[in-house]
């Protein structure tokens, strides 16, 4: 990312593209984008990444988290007829973050992301599935509940437990 932000490095961009574009496409498809639209929006997401590389902040949760948010927003903007919101409108933070992230920060954030992915796989299937349903398909907890024929309260509890479990797994990992 630093290479893109500072030197507009196309080789670095191609590397990121190879790694993340297919995942972005899968995300868009899971949220209901038709094949053609998913293909085109994936390019758009990657273009946002290129254009806004300088805004990337590794401390905020890493590149995959950023791409996750951009792809979600690009799709919704398309669905709304591309009005109002900026395609990469981040989650609001109280303090605007400054400066291009250093290589070290990016490495730390990548490591954190990797650890989180490992922990995610360790969750009980019922907990992981519900997180995936919400995060990946963008379904409300009410929709998750309806689909599973569970009371909303049960789904909320399951989500809370899943997130709590994830935090504990991360903590155990960090303490090691």
């Amino acid at each position: 990312m630093t290479a893109i932000a500072e030197r507009a490095d196309r080789a670095a961009f191609a590397q990121l593209f190879a790694r993340y574009a297919p995942r972005v496409k899968a995300h868009l498809t899971a949220r209901g984008a038709a094949a053609g639209a998913a293909e085109e929006l994936t390019q758009e997401v990657m273009l946002v990444l290129w254009r806004k590389a300088a805004l990337y902040d590794a401390n905020r949760g890493g590149l995959p988290a950023w791409l996750y948010t951009i792809s979600r927003n690009c799709l919704y903007n398309r669905m709304r007829g591309e009005q109002r919101r900026e395609a990469d409108d981040p989650i609001e933070t109280p303090e605007p973050v400054g400066g291009v992230s250093s290589g070290e920060e990016i490495l730390i954030s990548l490591e954190r992301q990797r650890a989180l992915s490992v922990c995610l796989r360790q969750l009980a299937p019922e907990q992981r599935e519900i997180l995936e349903q919400a995060y990946w398909r963008g379904q409300t907890l009410q929709e998750c509940a309806d689909q599973r024929k569970l009371p909303l309260g049960t789904v909320k509890t399951r989500v809370r437990l899943a997130l709590q479990h994830l935090r504990e797994l991360m903590k155990t990992r960090n303490d090691k």
Partner: protein, 233 residues
Amino acid sequence: MRSSPRTPVTIAAPNHHVPEEGLLEYVAGAATDPASLAIACHVSLCAACAAQAAALEAVGGSILETSPGESLADGALQATLARLDAAPEPAAVARDVVVEAPGFLSAFGLPSPLLRSLPAQVADWRFVVPGVRAIDLPVVSSGATARLISFGGGVTIPLHDHGGTEYVVVFAGALDEKAEGKRFGRGDISIRETGERHEQRATPGEPCIALVVNEGKLRPLTLRGRLLLALAR
């Protein structure tokens, strides 16, 4: 319109937050637009919820990271690189687009998600009933409404129920929940589900400026609910 000097948005230390599963729906893009606006306003005034939202985004990132992916059409990278040529170089992009509050709203420290949602060219409040003024926010969502409301100090919002979830985020002044003895000040968010009846009162002495989002129609339960009916128009 946005030419007045920028009022620094002070971070409050809110006492009333968004529950974690609500933040998750927000981060996952599952919340409705008006609900997202309310949550974004709270998050931008609440360091704790902002940190939590960032952590939840990281979980979204991990789910993306662990996805097997879906292969792209041949030549997708080349097509994207060709589009890059038409795009500005990365460094040319401005870092922050600061949205200024219009003059008549500049004293309230409104957070940027709210400022970005104001109708273009808004110049004044709309009179609702004595003591209550509003600005309708053009947030698209079926059946839901979002308004910035100014309650005069001491104004009571009579007992009411909601047809859908109600979100209130306070920016200036305070609202008291009568029955529970709870006070909602700057940055606090109140989320009420259908069936949760309540009566609120703006703290006397200063106006209360708040975002009020209703995902369904209000149901006034008293004759004094006239005021609410006017609001729910």
